[in-house]
C-alpha cells in the first residue's frame, strides 16, 4: 500500500458512482440500466471497504492473530450485507425485464413504455 496514495480508492469509488449515474440517466437499453445500477453498487461497496482500512491494523479474519491492534470489522460487515441485498435487487430487476421483453418484444425503454402522463 505504500506506493498508492491513501485516497486513491475513494477517487475510484467516486468515478464508479459518477459513470453509473451517467449510464442510468442516458442509456435506453434496460439491461445497460441494470448494469449501471450494479456499477453504482460496486462503487458504494468500494467506498465502504476503503473506509475500513486502517494503516497498521490487522484484518479481523485470522484465528491466529499477529501482534498489534485489530480493526473493528463494521465496514466489512456492512459491505457483505449490502452485496447480498444488491444480488436480490439485481435478480428481481432481471426477472422483471424478462417479463417486459415477453410482453413488448423490446428492451428499449422508449419502445416498451406504455404509460405516459
Amino acid at each position: 500500500m505504500e506506493h498508492i496514495p491513501l485516497n486513491f480508492p475513494f477517487l475510484a469509488a467516486a468515478l464508479l458512482v459518477g459513470i453509473s449515474f451517467y449510464i442510468i440517466i442516458f442509456k435506453k437499453n434496460l439491461i445497460k440500466l441494470i448494469m449501471g445500477i450494479a456499477m453504482m453498487a460496486s462503487g458504494v461497496n468500494l467506498f465502504l471497504v476503503a473506509l475500513g482500512y486502517r494503516a497498521g491494523g490487522n484484518a479481523p479474519i485470522y484465528t491466529d492473530v499477529p501482534e498489534g491492534p485489530m480493526v473493528l470489522p463494521v465496514p466489512q460487515a456492512l459491505t457483505l450485507t449490502s452485496i447480498v441485498i444488491n444480488v436480490a435487487v439485481l435478480a428481481l430487476m432481471l426477472t422483471i425485464v424478462i417479463h417486459i421483453y415477453r410482453h413488448t418484444g423490446s428492451l428499449d425503454s422508449e419502445k416498451s413504455r406504455k404509460m405516459k402522463g
Binding site: M40, F47, L51, I96
Partner: protein, 522 residues
C-alpha cells in the same frame, strides 16, 4: 404481560417475518389454514402495537437492544459507544406503527378475495408479510444501517408485489420503475451512511446525534439522505415513477405502498429532527421542504384532474396530499431554532402535518380499495367506461363518499380537523401557504366529484347488468378503515392528545431520544 411488552419491539418485527416463511409450507397443505395464519399473526401484531403504545404513553421511550442480557443495556461493558443493534420506539415511531399495523391488516383481509383468482397466492402472502416486516423495521430501528436494510426489504417485496400479476404488461413496467428508483435511493442512503461513519465511527442515530458537527461531509450526507427519502416518498420533482407504479399494483398493495411512502417521509423527518437536530441549518432545510411541498400539492392535484384511469387519478391525489404533510412539518422545521415561535405555531404546524399522516393513512387506502372494487366488478380502470354503478355497489358507494368527503376536508370529517390545524398555524408563518392549501383542497373536491359522477351516477349501463356487490372480505377491509375515519372524526381531541402531540414533541426535542441510548441524565 410486562415481559411481553418489554420484548414487543422485536416481536412486532419478528412475527410477520416468521409468518412470511410459514405461509409457503402451510399454504401447500391448506388454503384456509394459510389465510388464518396471515390474519391471526397480523391481528396479534395490532394487539402488540396497541399494548406497546399504551406503555410508551405512560413510561416514555422504549429501547430494545438485540443480543444483550437485558433489553435496556444499550452500551455493553468495556465500550464507550453502542455497538449492538438497537430498536428505539418513541411517540413518532409509535404513531407510524399504529397506522402500519391497521392498514396492513386491512390490506391482508382485502387480498383474501381481491387476488382469489390469481396463481401463486402463497408467494403473494409471503411477500406481503415481508413488506410488513420491512415497514415496522424502518419505523422502529435506532440504527442507520438497519434503516437501509429494512428500506431494502420493503422495496424489494413491494416491487415484486407490484409486478405480481405478470399477465399484464403495465404491471411489469410499474414494478421495474419502482425497483430502479428504490435501488438508486437506497444506494444513496448507503453512501450517506458511509460518509457519516467515516467521520464518527458510529451508526446509532442517538449516539451520532450527540457528536455530529455539521461539517461539509455531513451536509453532503444530509442532501443525499433527503433526496433519497423524498424520492421514495414521491415529492414533486422526483415523482414521475409514482403514479406508474402505484396505479398498476393490486389495490390492497397500493394501500400499503402509500404507507411505505409515509415510512420514507418518517425517515426523512427522523434524519432532519433527531439526527441533525440542533446542528441543522433549520430555516434553509425547512424552506426547501415547504417549497417542494407546495409544488407537490399543486402539481399532484392539477395532473389528477385530467386522469381517466381511476387508480392513476388517486395516485396523483396521494402526491398532492403528501404535500400538506411536507409543508406542515417543514414550517415546524423552519422555526425549530426559535423556542417562542415553536410554542406559538411551530408545534401546531408539526402536529397538523403528523395528524394529516394519520388521516391520509385512513382515507387514501380506503379510496384505493374502492378503486380496486370498481376494477374487480367491471374489469377496467377507465372511468369513462364506467357508469351507474351505485345501483349495484351500495356499500362501495357509501364508503367512496366517506373517503371523498374526508380527503377534500369537508367538516366535520377527519381530513378537515388536520387541515384546519395546518391552515391556522402555517398562516402565521406565511399566508400564501394557507391560500394554496385551500385552493388545492377545492380542486381535490372538484375532481373527486367528477370521478364519482362518472363511475357511480347515471343510469345503469347494459354491460354491467350482472355486476354484484364485491365479496364480503373486501367490504370488511374497507369498513375497518372507514371505522377509523369515523372514530377520528368523533374524537379528534382524544387522538391529538394521545398520539399526535407525543409524536410532535418527539420530533421537536431530540434530547430524550439521545438520552435513551447514551444513558445521560436528562
Amino acid at each position: 404481560m410486562a415481559a411481553l411488552i418489554a420484548q414487543s419491539p422485536i416481536l412486532i418485527i419478528a412475527i410477520p417475518l416468521a409468518a412470511a416463511f410459514l405461509t409457503l409450507p402451510i399454504g401447500m397443505a391448506s388454503k384456509k389454514a394459510r389465510n388464518a395464519l396471515v390474519i391471526v399473526s397480523l391481528t396479534f401484531v395490532v394487539f402488540l402495537v396497541f399494548a406497546l403504545a399504551r406503555d410508551i404513553s405512560i413510561n416514555g421511550i422504549h429501547v430494545y437492544t438485540l443480543g444483550a442480557t437485558s433489553p435496556d443495556l444499550t452500551i455493553p461493558k468495556g465500550f464507550m459507544v453502542p455497538v449492538r443493534i438497537i430498536l428505539e420506539v418513541d411517540g413518532m415511531s409509535m404513531l407510524m406503527a399504529i397506522i402500519w399495523s391497521i392498514v396492513s391488516l386491512a390490506a391482508a383481509i382485502y387480498s383474501l378475495s381481491h387476488i382469489a383468482n390469481e396463481t401463486g397466492q402463497n408467494r403473494f402472502y409471503t411477500l406481503l408479510l415481508l413488506m410488513v416486516t420491512g415497514g415496522f423495521g424502518m419505523m422502529f430501528t435506532g440504527d442507520l444501517f438497519n434503516l437501509f436494510v429494512f428500506l431494502e426489504i420493503a422495496s424489494i417485496s413491494g416491487a415484486a408485489l407490484i409486478a405480481f400479476r405478470t399477465r399484464f404488461a403495465d404491471t411489469q413496467e410499474g414494478g421495474f420503475k419502482y425497483i430502479v428508483v428504490s435501488a438508486i435511493a437506497s444506494l444513496m442512503v448507503l453512501f450517506a451512511i458511509g460518509l457519516l461513519y467515516s467521520q464518527y465511527n458510529l451508526l446509532n442515530i442517538g449516539a451520532l446525534a450527540q457528536v455530529i458537527q455539521y461539517t461539509t461531509l455531513d451536509k453532503i450526507a444530509l442532501a443525499l439522505l433527503l433526496i433519497a427519502f423524498t424520492m421514495k416518498a414521491g415529492m414533486v420533482p422526483l415523482h414521475l415513477w409514482f403514479p406508474d407504479a402505484y396505479s398498476v399494483a393490486p389495490a390492497s398493495i397500493t394501500g400499503m405502498l402509500v404507507i411505505t411512502s409515509h415510512a420514507c417521509m418518517y425517515a426523512a423527518f427522523r434524519v432532519c429532527f433527531t439526527l441533525y437536530g440542533g446542528m441543522l441549518d433549520a430555516p434553509v432545510v425547512g424552506w426547501i421542504l415547504i417549497v417542494f411541498g407546495i409544488l407537490s400539492m399543486f402539481v399532484g392535484v392539477t395532473m389528477a384532474i385530467f386522469q381517466k384511469d381511476v387508480m392513476r387519478f388517486m395516485s396523483y391525489h396521494a402526491i398532492s396530499q403528501l404535500g400538506y404533510m411536507w409543508i406542515g412539518v417543514g414550517v415546524g422545521l423552519a422555526v425549530l431554532g426559535n423556542a417562542d415561535l415553536v410554542a406559538t405555531y411551530g408545534r401546531d404546524a408539526i402536529s397538523g402535518g403528523v395528524f394529516h399522516i394519520l388521516n391520509h393513512a385512513m382515507y387514501k387506502p380506503l379510496l384505493f380499495f374502492t378503486g380496486g372494487a370498481l376494477f374487480h366488478c367491471t374489469g377496467t380502470r377507465d372511468l369513462t367506461k364506467m357508469g351507474g354503478l351505485a345501483h349495484k355497489l351500495k356499500w362501495t358507494t357509501v364508503l367512496y363518499i366517506i373517503g371523498t368527503l374526508s380527503i377534500s376536508g369537508i367538516p366535520p370529517l377527519n381530513g378537515f380537523s388536520s387541515k384546519i390545524l395546518i391552515y391556522e398555524s402555517v398562516y402565521q408563518f406565511h399566508p400564501i401557504l394557507t391560500i394554496t392549501g385551500i385552493i388545492v383542497s377545492i380542486l381535490t373536491l372538484a375532481s373527486f366529484t367528477k370521478a364519482f359522477h362518472s363511475a357511480f351516477m347515471g343510469a345503469e349501463l347494459p354491460e354491467y347488468k350482472k355486476v354484484k356487490e364485491v365479496p364480503r372480505s373486501m367490504i370488511i377491509a374497507m369498513v375497518i378503515l372507514a371505522a377509523g375515519i369515523v372514530f377520528i372524526t368523533l374524537f379528534p381531541s382524544l387522538i391529538v392528545n394521545w398520539t399526535i402531540h407525543p409524536a410532535a414533541d418527539a420530533l421537536i426535542d431530540q434530547g430524550p431520544y439521545i438520552n435513551a441510548v447514551t444513558g445521560a441524565i436528562p
